[in-house]
């Protein structure tokens, strides 16, 4: 399978990754090879097979009691934030 520049640009956009002009052909080439490689999966007969999302088949979701265990830690958590004002995380204006 051969991806085009545009295919890769669209994937990068969907994944929110800016690629430089030099990087683009490298990804076009390597991603094309990867999709060729994984196309081997078409050889398997999967007609009657249930997809497997988890390695431990018989495990089910555990549910926790409805309890509030947290206290306000925003000052600590916001120490890692690039931009904060009035305890809010700041981003360039969101246009709706």
């Amino acid at each position: 399978m051969s991806l085009t520049d545009n295919d890769v640009k669209n994937i990068a956009k969907l994944a929110r990754l800016k690629l430089s002009d030099e990087q683009l052909p490298v990804y076009v080439d390597s991603l094309s090879k990867i999709f060729d490689f994984v196309a081997q999966l078409n050889a398997a007969d999967t007609a009657a097979v249930e997809p497997m999302a988890h390695p431990l088949a018989d495990q089910v979701q555990r549910m926790r009691p409805d309890e509030v265990l947290d206290t306000d830690q925003h000052a600590k958590y916001q120490r890692n934030a690039p931009r904060v004002e009035a305890d809010l995380y700041l981003v360039p204006k969101v246009i709706e």
Binding site: K13, A15, R16
Partner: protein, 487 residues
Amino acid sequence: MTELHHLTLAELNEGLRARRFSSVELARHFLARIERLNPALNALITVTPEYALAAARRADELLASGEAGALAGLPLIHKDIFCTDGVLTTCGSRMLSNFVAPYDATIVEKLSQSGVVMLGKANMDEFAMGSSNETSFYGPVKNPWDLKKVPGGSSGGSAASVAARLAPVATATDTGGSIRQPAALTGLTGLKPTYGRVSRYGMIAFASSLDQAGTMTITAKDAAMVLRDMAGFDPRDSTSVDTPVPDYVAGLDRPLAGLKIGLLKEFFESGLEESTAKLIREALQVYERLGAKLIEVSLPNLPLSVPTYYVVAPAECSSNLSRFDGVRFGYRCENPQGLEDLYMRSRGEGFGAEVKRRIMTGTYVLSAGYYDAYYLRAQKVRRLITDDFARAFQQVDVLMGPTSPTPAFDIGAKVDDPITMYLNDIYTIGANLAGLPAMSIPCGTVGGLPVGLQIIGPHFAEAKLLNVAHGYQNETLWHRDIPKGYA
């Protein structure tokens, strides 16, 4: 003369408890080695001497008072994928190059409670994506056996640290072979437990349904000691399994007579170098001498494990890594021109080439029109592979084969060819897809470079694997080899 760093974790533990040396002495000894040897190896991203000495002093007090935990005073290096409260946690990425975790991962917490002394954080492939430790933002890790060679990945820093005896043990993680392959390439004992055996809470996710934390040690006995305190149910991880943790150390010496070993036919077929194959066969002869029976088994779908993995893992990673957006933590680009620019550049600049490649692979296989052809199909093949393993374990107790098709390769040799790089994990990925416990133990050297024997067991058979590995290590000395210049 035997120096402290020649000793295994178990031996250090005995020495500590016999008061032959203190935890502070131990910490100082290894910190000094780190200072002297790490610059050439680049095995650690962060060294935490103050943290270590404080913990060591506490451990000495507890040892004196007799209230110490099982691992009290023993030095350890954490892979930098585990969140450590108040300590830089980078995951080998520029994206987290300024990230100080505000909490401890469950395993960090558990091991601290057991008394370990953290010396620092190990280098790794960026977000654990790599098989050579060349994708780290902090530069490649060198293999102590030959500084021109890779140590394997993604836990290359953990492996190089223990191989060079900068610490007797390091934590590591394994999504497609990231413990076992570097263990093999650096002559160590690497253990990846059953999926769900060790909590994933606080371990920065790569591929959630495959990631599992484990150990990088000198011996199987050391691995048993550490796993005993690392494993266990965690209510904060929904995929953590609520079954009791056995005493892995207690079962180490069980005789191996009658052990049924399955030889994975597929592992001996494609791409395996003859020199490596020969060492594996010799290791199997050791087991035969111990009374084990060798049975050839075939897992017909196993050859599809690499393509399956390279759909499932990137799909999960593409979603797991969406949280790195330059808003709440991590790298943010300079002067974003609007929201989209903030996202595109923070992520474009914050992630390295391989991480971006995997995110794009995953984004594509999940996108409209491709989901069924790639992701769903891969999930189905994953079941076929898992069923193959289950059938094999009806016949045999453990499966054996090589860990890696070749010994350590040159730094830079495979970086430009992702497929060749991905095929390094051809023997290790199956266990991740099926969630099985697996180990790699050293079984000889080729041209001065270590080779690993892989042992895979059924779910929750860690005790059996450790018993099998320990039995071999009682008969051989490969695991005691220390690379030249590090003895």
